[in-house]
Subunit: 163 residues, 2 copies
């Protein structure tokens, strides 16, 4: 059994795995007669030559910390964005790259933070920590399975602060 | 001055203008060992030959009802999805198609409802009704302006129930 602690989700810490979708800093553009800030094109979407972008909704059961991670997965043919449709914190899990997943890292997404996993990134399944576990998902629509699962030999227990 | 009342947002009523993104009904697929429902590929994304999908974040100032609509706009080269990153109701405004906008219709998006405007649909700018006015927007990234604005000769006052 390995134990790790979830860290705050920051763009810098998450950069090896994907993009953080958040409104930190100044907007790229002010639109709508000054009433809206646009944070422009914040995700590296990549759906390969045979895929296209789609928007799906995920409704996932909330988990709690400490969380027992037994499996990570990756999508070899496309990026995958998780956009919370709520303002609650949630858990993001990744593993370092390789034919088999490397060391696991966990991040606590704060209120208002979404993420986009870069194509092929090993990651845990969607893990809300509160009801409702409602997310918009922007990922690859295509004819292939686009999913590899890897069950860990040693589960990872992910702890974190109480919300 | 024209006065209209915002109606509940339903997939059927909104069909001429776009897609409603919501988890109504049974999921298309159960994933993640039974812990997540996937409502698959729910938006007709269309970014034309010269565009691509992007995810941006909008942070808009909340409005209140009655709301005075003075302008509608359209994006001739791409669809545009508004995904609330919160669980508050918000206002969706559209106008019937034409070289100039036709009659205006307004819908109250309930908690958990997003929308995708089909390419070229006349619509009002993003109008949250509560703080924070935080939305993920999936729209066309390209080199063209992709924006037409039309200022109404007669403003439309949009009323609705109090939240």
């Amino acid at each position: 059994m390995t134990e790790i602690v979830a860290q705050p989700l920051t763009a810098e810490a998450f950069a090896p795995y994907g993009d953080v979708l958040e409104i930190a800093g100044a907007p790229d553009k002010i639109i709508n007669q000054g009433l809206c800030g646009r944070y422009h094109d914040r995700a590296a979407l990549d759906f390969g030559p045979g895929g296209r972008a789609g928007i799906s909704l995920f409704n996932a059961e909330p988990r709690s910390l400490p969380y027992r991670l037994e499996m990570v997965e990756r999508h070899p043919e496309g990026s995958q964005a998780f956009v919370p449709m709520h303002l609650k914190p949630w858990l993001v899990v990744v593993a370092e790259p390789g034919d088999v997943p490397g060391p696991v890292h966990a991040f606590l997404a704060a209120s208002g933070q979404g993420i986009n996993f870069h194509r092929g990134t090993w990651h845990g399944v969607l893990t809300p920590l509160h009801e409702p576990g409602l997310f918009a998902v922007v990922d690859r629509i295509g004819d292939t399975a686009n999913l590899e699962e890897h069950w860990l030999e040693t589960p990872v227990i992910i702890g974190g602060p109480r919300f």
